[in-house]
């Protein structure tokens, strides 16, 4: 017992209060940037780039005649597609741009122009 207390006297660790300046304080601007970083906020894609990619996806659709695809083409009237094809194209666009289009929005997309407008205004499209 005596040996133990003698030993403990030597094993004591001195604890000092850390100097206040050692703790880095995060500036407010860094916090703001962190909360609204690009990954969270997303970024809007350029409209011409979206148009090119949408046209590429529509041209790859097997029932579409690639020569008829223009930035103003309407799925049913100009490209001769039915409503099921339109759903398929919207699903293909979801895969191309990596985000999910809700049903009520997807129902409204029936032309390339509407698809481009929706995707360009959606922050999560990549």
């Amino acid at each position: 017992m005596a040996a133990r207390s003698a030993l403990l006297k030597y094993l004591r660790v001195n604890v000092q209060l850390a100097p206040q300046s050692a703790r880095p304080s995060t500036p407010f601007s860094v916090l703001v940037r962190r909360c609204f970083s690009d990954e969270v906020r997303g970024s809007f894609l350029d409209k011409s780039e979206v148009t090119d990619r949408v046209i590429k996806v529509v041209k790859n659709f097997q029932k579409v005649d690639p020569s008829k695809v223009t930035p103003e083409a309407h799925f049913q009237n100009d490209l001769g597609l039915d409503s099921l094809d339109a759903v398929e194209i919207v699903m293909a666009l979801e895969e191309e741009f990596g985000f999910e289009i809700p049903d009520n929005e997807a129902d409204k997309i029936n032309s390339i122009k509407l698809a481009v407008d929706f995707i360009a205004s959606h922050p999560q499209a990549k």
């Binding site: 409503s83 099921l84 759903v87 398929e88 699903m91 895969e95 049903d103 997807a106 129902d107």
Partner: protein, 83 residues
């Protein structure tokens, strides 16, 4: 009698379920089967029965997506490789 938007919603749900299959062949089969089935029954006289059958098939697909994900193929199909 199902409305137009309900039918499109069922079609979309089947496509979304198809995406969850890890196996390329099954995934493409379900998309193909969905599109063919909907076009085959475009003018079906008993639309309500066909719609109910489609909903039952959606439930089957959802269950099978779970089963197939447990036995996912170890290698990806060559069709999935991007050049």
């Amino acid at each position: 009698m199902a409305s137009r938007s309900e039918i499109l919603s069922l079609f979309r749900s089947l496509y979304r379920t198809a995406r969850q299959f890890p196996d390329y062949n099954v995934r493409e089969y379900i998309k193909r089967r969905t599109a063919d089935g909907f076009r085959l029954n475009r003018d079906a006289p008993d639309a309500a029965a066909v719609f109910a059958d489609g909903k039952a098939q959606l439930e089957v697909a959802k269950r099978q997506a779970v089963v197939y994900s447990l036995y996912a193929p170890k290698v990806r199909s060559i069709m999935e490789l991007k050049p």
